[in-house]
């Protein structure tokens, strides 16, 4: 597809992180679901997408149900040495403590992965912080929807994803959301997928890790070894 130059400047290139044509020019406002079995590298990919953007000065927001905010910040500081602290915001949903800052990175604590209003407030504050420091491009990762699905039902998670995608769309950001495909029934996965613009799917086949991308171009990509 031919795009004008002006438009392509605003596009997000994720192909450095995962080498697919369909990921080389992702429209601002796009939300992607990353699905795969446990330990298949979904969460690593989501973090790499954010780190790759941070290398270029983009903002990053991590919403985590699994990791300590401090651990996320350490990981970013190690992997993206040139990153400014103000580029990163973390919404820690594991439920321990109030707002805090660590070396200038914004941290918001939420009581539980089921507290959607709290998560929304955390994301809003993180986005506000990035906006104030002049980041008009940025990426958000939510890791993981599977944990959220143990706290609330699929209807609520679907709606959350839809609302959050709309918010990212107005901000011109992109979003990546992970889900463990082995942890839910097919109907749940099928419903959750519908809340997203595209899907990156992982699988193990013949002892290799493979991925494909769906929804971003007219045809799904073929499975590729990664």
């Amino acid at each position: 597809m031919v795009k004008t130059n002006k438009l392509s400047e605003n596009m997000y290139d994720l192909s450095n992180v995962l080498d697919f044509d369909a990921l080389s020019s992702v429209r601002p406002g796009t939300s992607l679901l990353i699905a795969g079995p446990a330990m298949s590298g979904k969460e690593g990919l989501a973090m790499d997408v954010l780190k790759d953007g941070a290398e270029d000065g983009e903002g990053a927001v991590v919403v985590t149900t699994n990791d300590q905010a401090a651990a996320v910040i350490d990981e970013f500081q190690t992997d993206v040495p040139g990153m400014e602290d103000s580029q990163l915001g973390v919404v820690d949903c594991r439920g321990d403590g109030g707002d805090s800052q660590q070396n200038g990175s914004y941290i918001h604590h939420v009581n539980s992965p089921g507290d959607l209003t709290g998560i929304g407030i955390g994301i809003t504050k993180a986005l506000e912080g990035l906006h104030k420091s002049g980041r008009d491009k940025g990426r958000l990762a939510l890791v993981s929807l599977s944990t959220m699905l143990t706290y609330t039902d699929k209807k609520t998670v679907f709606k959350l994803c839809h609302i959050l995608s709309s918010r990212l769309d107005s901000a011109g950001y992109i979003g990546v959301f992970t889900i463990d495909s082995g942890a839910h029934d097919d109907q749940t996965l099928q419903v959750i997928k519908q809340a997203f613009d595209g899907l990156v799917e992982f699988r193990e086949q013949d002892g290799t890790r493979q991925a494909r991308v769906m929804g971003l171009s007219s045809q799904p990509s073929d499975w590729q070894e990664i």
Binding site: T117, T156, I163, S166, D169, S170, V191, Q194
Partner: protein, 194 residues
């Protein structure tokens, strides 16, 4: 629009002149109910109320206390705080959906009420969208792709889903601001038993 179809606005305000003024501005478009303090407000509240305009500083129950009880009762109404001081971000954390700072002009009052009604409309659109997506997923799980291609029901469902998606993206300016974003998320936690 008939009397019964009109959205219901409940004004909880201890100053009679102020309450009358709001009523005068709103009565053409909405069914307006008035309460002179928090207790009376809670009495007049039921499922038919769409929007509550709640004065924060009142003798007896404060606006914050009334709000807390409204949320405990799990009513679907949207609540705007009316206050003399410009609040900061915290009003959203406190559970209000919007605020109006005094003195209020007619135009502002209308805008706020309309925005709150639009949020309720968004909630029901989103609920509808979810139901259709769930139906689609059930069909996809139970039929082969050849059967789906033949199915008129599936075809209709897909076009309905696309229409709803478009409507949602136009509603609330596509969740363009923080207050819409948070209030919509709050609606998810409150409205679990639809």
């Amino acid at each position: 629009m008939s009397e019964s179809d009109r959205p219901v606005v409940l004004i909880v305000e201890d100053e009679p002149d102020v309450a009358e003024t709001y009523k005068l501005w709103l009565r053409k478009d909405y069914e307006v109910r008035m309460a002179h303090d928090g207790d009376e407000g809670l009495e007049l509240l039921d499922d038919s109320v769409d929007v509550v305009l709640l004065d924060r500083m009142m003798p007896g129950l404060s606006g914050d206390e009334v709000l807390e009880r409204i949320r405990e009762r799990d009513l679907g109404c949207r609540v705007s705080m009316v206050t003399a001081v410009e609040p900061d971000f915290d009003i959203l954390e406190m559970g209000f959906d919007a605020y109006l700072s005094k003195p209020i002009r007619s135009e502002q009052l209308h805008e706020t009420v309309e925005n709150l009604l639009e949020r309720s409309e968004y909630d029901s659109l989103l609920q509808n969208y979810y139901s259709q997506v769930e139906k689609q997923a059930t069909l996809e799980a139970s039929k082969s792709s050849a059967e789906l291609e033949e199915s008129e029901e599936y075809d209709e469902l897909k076009s309905e889903i696309n229409e709803l998606k478009d409507e949602l993206s136009e509603s609330l300016g596509g969740i363009g601001d923080d207050a819409d974003f948070i209030a919509t998320l709050r609606g998810l936690s409150n409205g679990e038993d639809e």
